[in-house]
Amino acid sequence: MIKDVAFGQYYPVASFVHKMDPRAKILYLTAYIVLIFIVKNFYGFAVCAAFLALAVIFSRVPILKVLRSVRAIIFIIIVTFLINLFLHREDQDVVIFNWWIFTITYGSLRFALFMALRLVMLILGSSILTLTTTPVSLTDGIESLMSPLKIVRFPVHELALVMSIALRFIPTLMEETERIISAQKARGADFESGNLVSRVKALIPILIPLIISAFRRADELGDAMEARCYTGSKVRTKYKKLKLGVNDVIALFFVLAAFAGVIVLNVYTTAII
């Protein structure tokens, strides 16, 4: 089912990571991404992997669900892996494979694996954030982190609301798309055969009804929001107050430990593997 795409799919269980403040999670994820980019060797990745493993364990999300997120970018990973494998060159390299224009060296293999691993770690880490944080608390977190921008009159609240409504309508519009596809197929539409141009053309009878219906929904939602006294941000109160808790402090120690580990390994390890 298209409904179950990993993006924005919250996995509802109660866990250590679920209970964390979304702001802390966003910041720690940012830190983790920085970490992945400063790692210089595979030992460093071992530290990142250990950190990631702890995060998965404490999030109580099944490992398969987390791994599934890689599927979304598998194509990019393979392409970058191949490009690096055949094109990367290092000084004093050992050739391990050579045929026609394709040459693999020890250095290129190492580098290609390294970059692929970096991408995998990146998407796995990000998916833990989206799996353990509801879209709403994610936008709450972003809203709160961006609130300093209110000083320069940036519409932080409006932007957060737009984001959460967009997220809220993803499953609805997915369902709608499926329904339209079935309806058009029932009328004899053909989406699977023909060349690229005719296939893209075949999408038009799906997109137009979808866009029209999205506008209609937007219209009704606007009425419903107004009927529920929405006027903007002036008198609004906020029910969910974000509060940093013990979990966030404990997690901070792990983030710092991972940082320390990676930096130490970057400095003291000369082996290149």
Binding site: A224, R228, C229, Y230, R236, T237, K240
Partner: protein, 276 residues
Amino acid sequence: MLAINIDNVSFKYDDEKRFAVENVSLSVEEGEVVAVVGANASGKSTLAKLINGLIAPLSGKVEVFGNDTSDAKKLFDIRKSCGIVFQNPDNQMVASIVEDDVVFGPENIGVPREEIKKRIDFALGATGTEAFRTQMASRLSGGQKQRVAIAGVLAIMPRILILDESTSMLDPRGREEVMSVVKALNKEKMTVIVITHYMDEVVGCDKVFVMGQGRLLFGGTPKELFADSALIEKAGLELPVPAKIAVELRKSGVDVGLPLTKEELKEKLWTLLQGN
């Protein structure tokens, strides 16, 4: 106390020639359950939007607890006292999680945090949706979603609840779920306006208004409405099933009057049988 007073109101949408609502006058007392029926495009939904102040009348006056909906300063108070639940539950929720959606209204009107908590409990309790509190709304059934939508409106604690064809997309069970919530709310003095196509939802109401091509064709009790077969025909309405059976019975010489509910019909038939 008069909850709603509509005085000779007309309204026309920009892109249409015909008036959506024309010279309509009606009033609703606080605590009443009122049904509004009529064919498609008869002006029922426009009436709901007029009452809530989503649209302002071109002429005439709409008052909600004495507040004129044409007065922009009063709109906020009007919407606080009068909530609408629309037809499609999918198009009235702003948040993915049930609780977050219910919170939207109280946040909008600036309710303090502690009080919001109480209101969520009240709204979810009144609609029997406590169990879904932390669930994704997209995973719920139609009836459950619509009850959540009602909870979202209830959390504002309105004194009037308008259901604008809120049961039309639901299966019979979902309809029953929603209507039983409405009945329970009315027991707590809530004024309810039910805009509907289903005649069995009309039967239990205190009053019923019939709309046709933007005009008010009838205002009175359900009993009076269903006795007027010419009007039923004209407005494109149907009798409730028990009444239909009674009409058929009369044709074959058995007079059971005009029962509107199954119970009434059963009662009539029993007395008739015992009499013989």
